[in-house]
């Protein structure tokens, strides 16, 4: 049976509760166990920290999808000043699974784009669980070209299970819309920085990840397709998703080792939701320092670097 949610926290909380009860009891009974408690507290913390530092790929997937995990909008509102959201693709509609707009990062005007998941059922129905339709990708296309026109760097935040698989999405050209964004980003004349904040799912995530710098939060994942889908397609058994998660090499560290991600931003112990402010500040720092480096480059240098970066990806044998 595949574990469906990250249950370590609950177990730990349970233990913590009992520990507090014991402390209370010993106080009431006037049993002085202060030193023993200190020892125990440290030991418990060590065990917990050790666990969080050694999460399996599947546990990271579960954390990246955690109900309490900060959403892209949370980061945008915390990190940027003067955020003004823009809507619509000017053709069909406004996809709420992708948000985009203009904002200021330490005084530098930037275009910000990202997948928007919701918290809870109502919000998720509103944002379609962060799974965009073609109009979402056409909104992205429109806003990145606008960014280029006004020489604004583009920052994207990635958090999606993937592009929406549905009839309407196919009718309105999901494949073509994604392909077009990929191609436009390849030679966009302004710096592009992408950060995977949660789930990087398949082509729907990749459409926002063609960039000059790819950052990943330490518990975020980036995968060719969901572990569940891969297990059901390759092994005909969705129940082996946990095993598939390891085989796919989808953790931030794996993606960096493969030469695809540039930087891992360490999350607070227990995940981004445990200390949102610290997390958001770290992400902001990284965005600022990477942006400064990229702004020092001429646009042709930037394009040449981005091209080389993409062109060399892949491993094969030739003889």
């Amino acid at each position: 049976m595949v574990k469906r949610h990250f249950d370590y926290e609950e177990k730990y909380k349970n233990l913590q509760g009992k520990f507090e009860e014991l402390q209370e009891l010993s106080k009431n009974l006037q049993f002085d166990l202060t030193n023993e408690f200190k020892l125990m507290e440290k030991k418990m913390k060590d065990i917990r920290d050790n666990k969080y530092q050694n999460l399996t790929a599947w546990e990271k997937i579960l954390l990246s999808r955690h109900q309490e995990r900060p959403t892209v909008r949370d980061y945008i509102e915390f990190i940027f000043d003067d955020w003004i959201e823009m809507h619509g693709d000017r053709c069909y509609g406004d996809d709420r699974a992708v948000i985009g707009g203009i904002a200021s990062l330490k005084g530098i005007p930037v275009t910000v784009l990202g997948h928007q998941k919701g918290r809870g059922t109502n919000e998720n129905l509103h944002t379609n669980f962060g799974m965009p339709h073609p109009e979402g990708y056409r909104k992205v296309e429109r806003l990145i070209l606008q960014a280029e026109k006004f020489k604004r760097p583009v920052l994207t935040l990635i958090d999606t299970p993937g592009a929406y698989p549905g009839v309407g999405a196919e009718e309105r050209g999901q494949a073509g819309a994604i392909a077009q964004v990929l191609m436009t980003l390849c030679s966009l004349k302004v710096p592009i920085i992408s950060a995977v904040t949660g789930e990087g799912g398949s082509g729907g995530a990749l459409a926002l990840a063609v960039c000059d710098r790819l950052l990943m939060l330490s518990n975020s994942v980036f995968s060719v397709a969901s572990a569940e889908a891969c297990a059901s397609i390759i092994w005909k058994d969705a129940g082996r998703a946990e095993e598939m998660a390891s085989a796919l090499k989808l953790t931030a560290q794996d993606i960096k080792d493969l030469g695809i991600a540039d930087e891992i931003i360490e999350e607070p112990m227990g995940g981004a939701h445990k200390d949102f402010e610290t997390m958001a500040k770290k992400l902001e720092e990284s965005l600022v320092s990477n942006l400064k480096e990229l702004l020092a480059l001429e646009s042709h240098e930037l394009n040449e670097q981005r091209y080389k970066r993409l062109r060399q990806i892949g491993r094969f044998q030739e003889n």
Binding site: P165, A175, G176, V224, L258, I313
Partner: protein, 286 residues
Amino acid sequence: MLKSAFGKQKLIPIPDSREYMQSTEKDVGREKCPSCSRRVSELELKENHKVCPECQYHFSMTAWERIHFMADPDTFQEFNSDLRSINILDFPGYDEKLESAMKQTGLKEALVTGQCTIGGYPVILGTMDSRFMMASMGSVAGEKVCRAVEKAIDLKIPLILCTASGGARMQEGMLSLMQMAKTSAVLDRFHQQGLLYMTLLTNPTTGGVSASFASLADIILAEPGALIGFAGPRVIKQTISEILPADFQKAEFMLKHGMVDKIVNRLVLKDTVESLLRLHLGGKNG
């Protein structure tokens, strides 16, 4: 009014794409048309370019059958034929799968690329073979597409890719997904050169291939009945648990929704491609 327009639409469950492909392959051996059930002799099928003479059902072509059909006789020169996939992620079972695909098809990978002439016009031609792990795109397919594009840029001649693919090759993880971006980057440069790029979408063209190089052509042609789309029909069926329209994700459906320029019957395909090359004055630039 809307209701009447949709009311007549016949809704039947669409066949599973995998079963569909398998049944196609099986029946080629038995020479039975999967569409009209007519038994077609091997010779008849060959002479008719693997199109059923009765119902025009288009049987799948292998990569080399497609090349022999499209290229002027004896003009095709393959390049980069020695690129092979490696099991970079140590993915369980991948080596064995590659080996059996190579054995079954005699190919080293799912994509064959080279230079040839079509109607006398020099072009770069690539064809995909769905027998090879559903022609999924891994590092090798991505690299071969890129090198084919670069060759076309060097020679300033048109590029024609005949696609067939189930999508990204999951056994190569993110390296395969990134091939979508890589091929798009190279095609972006190609387009900046003012060169002509045409794709022919054949059964099936889905996933990472449809969401990258297959959709980035100046002219997109499709074979009748080909399954074309982003998500596979099985995934969609699972997600929305609804009965899908009868022609859903077929070439005809894609034409109706404005996603392809033209559906071309294989019997007039070569003529059509030649005409398009002629109308682009050979598609040479410079």
